[in-house]
Symmetry: C2
Subunit: 465 residues, 2 copies
C-alpha cells in the first residue's frame, strides 16, 4: 500500500542532509486551566499520545526499495508507535525560557528518521512560571511552516470551557471551528497541507521554467529595483547545530510607531530586525558597509497577483527589501525600509504571472531551490536572510481549557542562509522566532535584546511610548 | 582519512534496523558531594560536554560512498558537535524511578544516526531523591556491553576527594587507577573496546566454520546436555519500542541463600530470574509446560578453556541452563538450576577450542548471529533468553566527588529474543537490568516485583533472612 510522493516533497527529502534537516517547528505555550491538578501535564501528554486513530498524513513514511524501482514513495507505518512520536519531557532547573530554548534548539537540530512517520511532538513541563510548552516538529515534505502552525491552531477553540478536543494528528471529524469575535481559523484539509502555491507551481509543470525565472527574479533582474546583497556571516555553509530564541511584543506598541511615522506594521517589524541585526553585527565587528537585503514574503490579493491561490484567498509573493543596516539612525532606517518595501511591492505588481509564481515558490521553498541556485559559496548572495511575518488568530484560543499564551515558529536555516526570522501574531502580540546555525550565528539569543532596544529606540524617534 | 571497519563491527551495523537498534546502554546513579550548589548538575553536564579533546573512538562514524567502493568505513567527524552527543535532560514530576526508566526506555528505543559518531550521553536531573542519573548509549560496533561499563568505570576513583577527572569520551593520559581496598579497575585501551574474544574469533578467520559450529553448539548437539527450549512470548519478532526497568539487591542476601543451600551466587541469580519469569508468564497465562532455557555466559579460566583472552585473563563461554520454570517450589527450582548449570559447565569444559570460541562469540554477539541462525520464525528457539551476570567493582567509586550509588546495564533485544536480563554487581549490591521490546513483553516492570518476591521466597525456603 504505497503512494507516490509529489515532486516538491521529494525535493525536500533529497535536499536533506545532516547539516540541513528539513523540518519546521512550532513552540506553543499554554497556561493550565484553573483548578488543574498536579497530574495535569501528564494527562495532557497522555491525551495527545493516546488518540484513537492517527490521521494518514502522520502515519506515512518515505520508503525506497528495489520493488519501487528505486523511487521514493510514501508507505504507511504498520508498526506506528505513538510513544515514539509524542513525548513527555522536562526542563532542567531553574526552568527559565533559556532552558526551554536550549531544549528546543537541541530537538530542532536532530533529523527525523525516514524509517518512521516524519513528525514528533514534545509536551514539556518544568517552566518556572508553571506554563506547559509544546514543541512540534514536522518534515517540510508533509507541511510547510505556515500550514503546520495552522494545523496546530485548527484544534484550538475560543471557548475556554470546551473539552474533548483532539490532538492535531488525530484522524476524525472536521476540526473545531472557532467561535467568538476573532477571525475564523481556516479548516485544513489534512490531505493538502503543503502550501497551495507550491502545489500550483507543480501543477503548472514548471520545474525548468521556474528555475530560469528564479535566476532572474532572485537577482532582481526582472524588477525595477536592482541591488545586490553584501556578504555577511549569515551567508556561508552551515552545520547541523541549531540555536532557537523567541520573544513577543504587544502589537499596539509597534502599531503606535507605525501610526506616528506613516509606516506599516510590517515596516516596523523589518526596522526592528534591521536595527537588531545592525547592533548584533557591530558587536561582532562584522557589519558590511552596504545594507543587508532581506527576502520578505508578502501577501498580494488575487487580482493584483493575477493568480488565485487554491484557498481562494490571497496569493503570496516575495519582495527584496534593503534593510538600511548602513544607517545609524533608527528613524532613517525605518523610512528607508518603508521606501524599499513600497518599491518592491510595485515592482512585484508589474511582474508577470509566471514571475510572481516563481518568486512565490521561492518564498515557500527557499531550501529546495538553494542547491539549484548555487547559493553555496557564491560571491554575492541574492539576499542575506528571509524575514517572514505570518498573521495568526487575534483572540485567545484554548485546548481543552488550557489557554494558548504564545506561539513561536522554528524555521529551516540552509546553506548560505544561516539565520531565519519568522514572525507570527496572536492575541494582540507579535512573536519573533529566530532560528540559526549555532556555529555560524554565534550567541543568536543576543538578537532578542537588540530587538527590544530597537523597539524603544523607534518609539523614542517616533515620539511615542 | 578513512579507516577500515572490522567484520564484526560491520556485521552489527548491517544487522541494524529500526526494530533492532544495535546499541548498548548504561544507567548510572550518582549522589552529589556534600556542599554541592544548585548549579551542581549543570556544572557536571558542562564538564562532561566541554572536554578538550575527544578520544578517536568517539569521533568516528560509519561512511559508505562510491569513493569507498560501496564499502563501509570509519570516517572522522570533522564537524563533531559535543552538544549533540552530551545532553542535559530532566525528568517530569514527580521524578520517581518510574519516570527515569521511562526516559531511559525512550532514549534506548531510538537508533543512533550513522552520519554522526555512534554515542550519546544524557546527564539527567529531577530525581526526587536528589540523585544525578547518567544514561549513556554506545553502538555495539564500537564497544560491547561489558566494555562499555568498564569504560565508564575507568574514569572513576575510590578517592572521594579527587577532582579534575575526565569524561569517559575524553582523549588524554591513561585512566585513573583506582586505589583503596577494592580490586583495581581494568585500564581499557580505547582502541580495543570490543571484547577480546570477538576479535580473536575474527583473527582466527572463522566466519564460515564459526557459523557451522554455532549451528551445532547452539542446539546443544556438541554438548552432553541436550534439550530444547519451548516457544514463549519472548521468542517472536520485535518492534523498535523498548522498556527498561532495573533494581538492585544486597549481594549478602543472595549469598546467604547460596550458603544455606550449597549453591553459587550465580545459581541464586538464575533462580530469581526463573521464579520471576514463571510468575510473570503465569499472570499472562503464557507459561509453557516445559522449562525455559537461558543462555548464560560464564567465565572460564584460560587453562580450562584452552584459550587465553587477549586481556590475558579469563575467557568467556556460554552455557545453556534449564530454568525449571515448570516447578512450583522455589527450592526445587534453585536445585534444578544448580544441577543444570553444573552439567552445562562440564559439557563446556569438554568442548574443543573452536567450539568454545564459537559459543563465546555467540555470547558476545547473539544479535549479529541471529539472522544467520534464522531465529526469526523458527518453531523451536535454541534458548528463550540471555541472562548475563557481569561482576563489577566491589567498593564505592566517585567521579569528581560524586559517589556512584548504582549502575545498571541496558542491553539489546533482538528478533526472537525480546527480553534480555543483564546483572552487574557494585559496592555490595547486585543490579538486574531488564531490557525488552515494549510491545512483545508487556508490563516488563512487573518482573521487578516478582524478583523481590522470589528473593523472599528463596530466603524462606533456605531458612535464612
Amino acid at each position: 500500500m504505497v503512494s507516490p510522493i509529489d515532486p516538491t516533497a521529494t525535493g525536500f527529502l533529497l535536499a536533506e542532509n545532516r547539516n540541513m534537516p528539513m523540518h519546521v517547528g512550532g513552540l506553543q505555550l499554554f497556561e493550565k486551566p484553573e483548578g488543574a491538578g498536579p497530574e495535569y501535564i501528564r494527562e495532557m501528554y497522555e491525551a495527545m499520545r493516546d488518540v484513537d486513530e492517527i490521521a494518514p498524513l502522520f502515519l506515512k513514511h518515505p520508503y525506497r526499495s528495489v520493488r519501487t524501482a528505486g523511487q521514493l514513495v510514501w508507505k504507511p507505518d504498520l508498526q506506528f508507535d505513538a510513544h515514539h512520536h509524542v513525548r513527555h519531557s522536562a526542563l532542567p532547573a531553574p526552568g527559565r525560557y533559556r532552558e526551554l530554548f536550549e531544549l528546543c534548539s537541541r530537538l530542532h537540530s536532530t533529523r527525523l528518521a525516514w524509517e518512521r512517520p516524519l513528525w514528533e511532538a514534545h509536551v514539556i513541563e518544568g517552566l518556572e512560571d508553571g506554563r506547559v510548552a509544546l514543541y512540534t516538529k514536522t518534515h517540510h515534505a508533509l507541511v510547510d511552516g505556515v500550514s503546520a502552525m495552522r494545523l496546530l491552531q485548527s484544534v484550538l477553540t475560543t471557548d475556554p470551557d470546551r473539552r474533548g478536543m483532539p490532538a492535531p494528528w488525530a484522524a476524525g471529524p472536521p476540526r473545531a471551528r472557532s467561535g467568538g469575535d476573532g477571525p475564523s481559523l481556516p479548516e485544513i484539509p489534512v490531505q493538502a497541507l503543503r502550501s497551495a502555491l507550491a502545489l500550483t507551481a507543480e501543477a503548472a509543470g514548471l520545474p525548468g521554467a521556474l528555475v530560469r525565472t528564479l535566476h532572474k527574479g532572485v537577482r532582481n533582474e526582472t524588477s525595477a529595483v536592482s541591488f545586490h546583497a553584501p556578504r555577511t556571516i549569515f551567508n556561508q555553509s552551515i552545520t547541523g547545530a541549531r540555536r532557537f530564541a523567541a520573544e513577543d511584543w504587544p502589537i499596539d506598541r509597534l502599531r503606535g510607531i507605525g501610526k506616528a511615522t506613516g509606516t506599516t506594521l510590517n515596516d516596523v517589524v523589518m526596522a526592528m530586525c534591521s536595527g537588531a541585526i545592525r547592533a548584533y553585527l557591530l558587536e561582532l565587528d562584522a557589519l558590511p558597509d552596504t545594507p543587508l537585503v532581506a527576502m520578505v514574503p508578502v501577501g498580494l490579493n488575487a487580482k493584483q497577483s493575477h493568480i488565485a491561490s487554491a484557498e481562494g484567498g490571497n496569493a503570496v509573493g516575495a519582495v527584496m527589501v534593503q534593510l538600511a543596516t548602513d544607517l545609524a539612525d533608527p528613524a532613517d532606517r525605518l523610512r528607508a525600509i518603508h521606501d524599499s518595501m513600497q518599491a518592491g511591492k510595485e515592482a512585484l505588481s508589474s511582474m508577470t504571472q509566471v514571475q510572481i509564481l516563481a518568486m512565490s515558490a521561492l518564498g515557500q521553498a527557499p531550501m529546495i531551490l538553494a542547491p539549484l541556485l548555487r547559493m553555496q559559496g557564491i560571491v554575492r548572495p541574492p539576499y542575506n536572510l528571509i524575514i517572514s511575518n505570518v498573521p495568526g488568530p487575534r483572540t485567545a484560543h484554548y485546548w481543552n481549557g488550557a489557554r494558548l499564551v504564545g506561539t513561536y515558529p522554528l524555521s529551516i536555516p540552509i546553506n548560505g542562509m544561516a539565520l531565519n526570522i519568522t514572525c507570527t501574531s496572536y492575541d494582540g502580540r507579535i512573536a519573533f522566532g529566530l532560528t540559526g546555525c549555532r556555529r555560524t550565528v554565534p550567541h543568536l539569543q543576543r538578537l532578542l535584546v537588540h530587538l527590544e532596544d530597537e523597539v524603544a529606540a523607534l518609539e523614542k524617534a517616533a515620539g511615542v511610548g
